[in-house]
């Protein structure tokens, strides 16, 4: 999973996975969430998702959650992950404000 080192921006995939895990979900449910929320624009490959989940776990932004059914591995966003999401939302708001200001005045 890549992050933009200088700007601190998250990749779209990382951000969407973190958002998906505001509700505890297993891998397949994360994949469905991303597909639905991007209206099918982003179809996550299982290998990409596996790598991203591992990387987010290593960073401490998500963690395994207790699964009631106990059959599939379920994840949830951590406090650190929520902090990262808040920062990303602020960054995107500033970016879209800049874009709107420039594009709409033309």
């Amino acid at each position: 999973m890549r992050e933009h080192a200088h700007s601190g921006a998250l990749t779209e995939v990382s951000f969407l996975i973190l958002l998906a895990l505001y509700t505890p979900r297993h891998g397949y449910a994360v994949m469905q969430f991303v597909e639905e929320r991007t209206a099918g624009r982003l179809l996550l490959g299982a290998g990409t998702l596996y790598g991203a989940l591992s990387a987010l776990c290593d960073k401490g932004w998500i963690a395994p959650a207790d699964d009631a059914a106990g059959r599939r591995k379920t994840y949830t966003v951590t406090d650190a992950g929520r902090g990262v999401c808040a920062a990303e939302l602020a960054r995107l708001r500033a970016l879209t404000a800049t874009a709107a200001e420039i594009m709409e005045e033309v």
Binding site: T11, G27, L42, L43, G45, A46, T48
Partner: protein, 196 residues
């Protein structure tokens, strides 16, 4: 009514060709039921009912590969484990160009003779690719390039040491997957400059 089929094929490190052939078999109405070193057993099914991907896991430790396999199975996919058939034995020592972090020796705890996953998905009309973002495809292609590079270097080394033309032929053959991986990396790197 079609009958079950057993087919023998060798693909070496050409994973795209491997996957393409399995998908052609699936399109013709054959579904994989078992696989061995070179052997593929199929049963008849509806044409295009399933899709296949071939994934390289030879650089993962055994536990990592097992965890990845469990994840893929949780996603609803069927997974077969298969040797890549690129290892060489010299006496009792087996060299693995595909080993974790480069060339290594075969031992338990590694993915020796378990270097490939054949992954089957029920066809839901969407394209089947295990790696979807540019960054992940670059990382995966680099993993594929490493054993191909080691194989070429080893074959050239042996050709020099043993003075045998046969090893030059091995090196030339191994250049094919190496060149394919390199071309893909160049293409992806260009794409990565502007897109995720």
């Amino acid at each position: 009514m079609k009958e079950s089929k057993i087919v023998y094929r060798y693909f070496g490190g050409l994973l795209n060709s491997h996957a393409r052939w399995l998908n052609q078999m699936a399109a013709r109405g054959y579904r994989l039921t078992d696989t061995g070193r070179l052997r593929y057993a199929f049963v008849p099914t509806e044409g295009g009912a399933v899709q296949y991907a071939v994934e390289y896991v030879g650089d993962l430790r055994r536990a990592e590969a097992d965890d990845y396999r469990a994840f893929l199975e949780e996603m609803g996919y069927r997974v077969w484990v298969k040797p890549i058939n690129l290892n060489w034995s010299v006496g009792k020592v087996t060299l693995r160009p595909s080993a974790e972090g480069g060339v290594g020796l075969a031992s338990s705890g590694t993915t020796f003779n378990r270097e490939l996953f054949i992954v089957e998905k029920v066809n839901d009309g969407r394209p089947f690719s295990l790696h979807s973002t540019v960054a992940d495809r670059i990382a995966y292609t680099k993993r594929l390039r490493r054993p191909a590079l080691w194989l070429v270097l080893f074959a050239l080394l042996l050709a020099g040491l043993l003075r045998q033309w046969a090893w030059l032929i091995v090196a030339a053959v191994a250049l094919v997957p190496l060149a394919a991986a390199q071309l893909e990396l160049v293409r992806l790197s260009r794409e990565a400059k502007t897109r995720e």
